[in-house]
């Protein structure tokens, strides 16, 4: 129980810290905010339930007024802005990512975690994000999708990085990858 609370709280803090570090720039000039990488890692490392709860805890802190989102924004306003759909999908995205890593036991963890991140944190998140944007900006789903497609390649790169990081973490701290208990870890 103590371990669960500590891991959930520390990963919520990790998402916050990743949002406050300056934007990283990949080798070929694609800027990425590390925050959504944090959401992916919550799922791939903590698993479905704990990962989803860590993200939920993080959003709760944002809602009660802490400036923890990328670029120091926060408060209730972000939950009604055009990108609110993405934000509200975060807990579900982490949950689904975690669920896939938990259930798909065969194959290399790096590949499974990357695919799980693409499904959970790209596919599911964009579906919700596009619906939210269509509502706030009063557009059709197709038009809203057009506004955000430019960001999808960057997020897929992030999913691949999340896969590589998860497999490296599983090697360094096998006991800490809660989505896959140590005895049947296939790294």
């Amino acid at each position: 129980m103590e371990k669960n609370i500590a891991y959930i709280a520390l990963f919520a803090a990790l998402i916050a810290a990743l949002g406050l570090v300056p934007k990283l720039t990949l080798a070929f000039g694609v800027p990425i905010t590390a925050q959504s990488l944090g959401i992916m890692l919550c799922g791939t490392i903590l698993g479905a339930k704990r990962g989803g709860l860590a993200v939920l805890l993080f959003l709760l802190l944002v809602a009660i007024g802490l400036p923890l989102l990328s670029g120091g924004s926060g408060g209730l306003g972000v939950f009604v802005s055009a990108s609110a759909g993405f934000l509200l999908a975060w807990p579900l995205a982490a949950f689904i990512t975690g669920l896939i890593v938990e259930k798909w036991r065969s194959g290399s963890l790096a590949i499974v975690a990357a695919i799980a991140s693409v499904v959970g944190c790209v596919l599911v998140m964009y579906i919700f994000g596009i619906i939210g944007m269509a509502i706030v900006l009063d557009k059709t789903l197709l038009q809203a999708a057009g506004f955000v497609t430019a960001f999808i390649p960057g997020d897929i790169i992030k999913a691949v990085i999340a896969g590589l990081l998860t497999s490296a973490i599983a090697k360094a701290r096998p006991a800490s990858v809660l989505s896959r208990p140590a005895h049947n870890n296939t790294v």
């Binding site: 371990k3 500590a6 990283l24 670029g71 926060g74 209730l76 306003g77 009604v80 990081l165 701290r173």
Partner: protein, 204 residues
């Protein structure tokens, strides 16, 4: 950890946080059910008046928080200019600005402790499903405490990288950073257990 609550005391600071949140929900719903541009503009001027009442410093700070909306404003404006329906576009933009500005206003005039009281009130029914509100409060406190700790450790990590390499660290630094967070989580869990654990918290 600095919260987004405004240090400038307004009359709204002493109002009930629950009432402010309920009023915010109602007005946001109202805002999204009205399409008329004239009513939207009236709403916007009302919101601006609310920002202006506590003084210029408050207003300037509050309006600067709306800068995150610029990309959306530009996209929507360009789109509606292209399909020559600028009036409809303006209504959408004004509605979004009003909704975000009102929500930010509640955040700016409500103390963190009052917000946590609301969270405690709202999560009380969850007790039946096994969620202890005291554990949630402990988790909130842990995040608030550990975020600056992790951040300073991350800065040390970045400095250590710069001392050894001329190239940028990029995403590679996230691996040791996550390991630090995992190790800290183990230490925190051990410390919690050493102090009687969460069963102790449940008894109180």
């Amino acid at each position: 950890m600095i919260s987004l609550t405004s240090p400038i005391e307004t009359r709204a600071h002493s109002w009930s946080a629950g009432l402010k949140l309920a009023a915010l929900c109602l007005s946001t719903l109202l805002l999204f059910s009205i399409d008329s541009l004239i009513i939207q503009i009236t709403f916007l001027s009302l919101v601006i008046t609310l920002y202006a009442l506590p003084g210029l410093v408050f207003m300037r700070y509050g309006l600067s928080k709306l800068s995150i909306l610029w990309p959306f404003i530009v996209v929507v404006f360009a789109w509606h200019w292209w399909i020559s329906e600028l009036l409809q576009g303006s209504a959408i933009i004004i509605r979004m600005i009003c909704a975000v500005a009102l929500a930010n206003l509640v955040t700016m005039t409500t103390r963190l402790s009052d917000m946590i009281d609301v969270v405690r009130f709202l999560t009380q029914p969850l007790q039946r499903f096994g969620l202890n509100p005291r554990i949630l409060e402990l988790a909130i406190a842990l995040v608030i405490r550990m975020t600056p700790v992790l951040l300073s450790k991350g800065e040390c990590l970045a400095m250590a990288w710069r001392a050894r390499s001329t190239r940028r660290s990029g995403y590679k630094i996230i691996l040791p950073f996550t390991l630090i967070a995992l190790d800290d989580a183990d230490h925190v869990a051990e410390a919690l257990r050493a102090r009687g654990g969460l069963t102790n918290l449940e008894k109180n």
